[in-house]
Symmetry: C2
Subunit: 212 residues, 2 copies
């Protein structure tokens, strides 16, 4: 009976459909950008009819918000799971920065989607608070690692964490700007990580001696 063209889809929970759409969204956004990823483009990528979009999310803004939160959580999880707990401060800083760069290199389009989502959120009132939340998220993870692993004071770890996150962002942005196929980009990023880790270690040493 179930001939191919008249085959009706088996029923799934709304949650299952939601995750399908979210995964399809990040794929298609990585290919054509956030702005060009229409509700129809997303449902088509997921192999679902257009009507399912409104049924599962109601509004495109809802999809964007949920996608942003999911992606940030995923990045935060990967970041947290690669934080080193032993070694010198310099080694730990290098490993942290390198792990983040490796994550971006593993799937550059995904990071492009994150940056595109952040830009979109900035000019969307309902999503305007998300970039701040995202930044605080990364900051907290790095700070707590520095406190628990280096045993430094909260105040000192905070200042160091801010520089780590800022440098991380800048190094990743530079690598992305050059493009994944650019050869020099990788070497420059590696050198930046090496140099930044050294600079931060020297800064930490200087600061722990002096009280500034």
């Amino acid at each position: 009976m179930t001939s191919p063209e008249s085959a009706r889809r088996s029923y799934e929970s709304v949650q299952a459909r939601r995750t399908q759409l979210l995964q399809a969204a990040v794929r298609v956004m990585g290919r054509i950008g956030v702005a060009a990823a229409s509700t129809r483009a997303i449902t088509a990528e997921a192999g679902l009819p257009h009507g399912s979009f409104h049924y599962c999310f109601g509004t495109k803004e809802k999809l964007l918000e949920e996608l942003f939160r999911l992606e940030v959580n995923d990045v935060a999880t990967q970041l947290a799971s690669h934080l080193p707990t032993s070694g010198t401060l310099r080694e730990r800083l290098e490993l942290t920065l390198r792990a983040e760069l490796e994550r971006v290199k593993r799937d550059p389009d995904r990071q492009h989607v994150m940056l595109d989502l952040t830009a979109t959120a900035h000019s969307t009132p309902a999503l305007a608070e998300l970039p701040g939340w995202e930044h605080d998220r990364y900051l907290q993870i790095v700070r707590e690692n520095l406190v628990s692993s280096a045993g430094s004071h909260d105040r000192r770890a905070e200042r160091l964490a801010v520089l780590v996150v800022a440098g991380m962002r800048g190094i990743v942005a530079a690598w992305l700007a050059r493009g994944p196929q650019h050869d020099d980009a990788e070497a420059e990023a590696e050198r930046s990580i090496h140099d930044l880790a050294l600079a931060l270690v020297l800064f930490e040493g200087e600061a722990s001696a002096d009280g500034s």
Copy 2:
């Protein structure tokens, strides 16, 4: 004869109309984002009829490319004009970073437009090379200043410049993520600049002693 509603616009050169549209574009993009800035929204902001858009630019992509180049040139000019030529390395680094932060604080929407344009360019084949060109532009300016002003070797200045630009990007991004009205953002950015300048000076000192 020239009754208000039938008053025809006085003729201007295409270039004049182009700059009108470009200025209107950056205004409206700062308000509603790059993606939402349609050709009609831009012409309306400029007080021109819709047809003038195609007459002046032909394609929206052309407007985007020209706008990107203009904005990058403007940022680069402001950056170059505020580069210090005297003082200790630490003072010069602080001034450079602070000048860039002040530029962003002077008109945050403009920086949002830049980031949004960069994200858009990444998923637009015709504009894909612009982000790399932008990054190299800033890098070159900072590097040349370090060479001429600090007299350091090209190789050393290059590595320092990369860290300066990366840190600059990260600090500005952090400030923007918090939002212009957030009080703590300003203090944190100032502290980051202070700390980063110190870290880079220590790095430079260490590197000039050792040969790594």
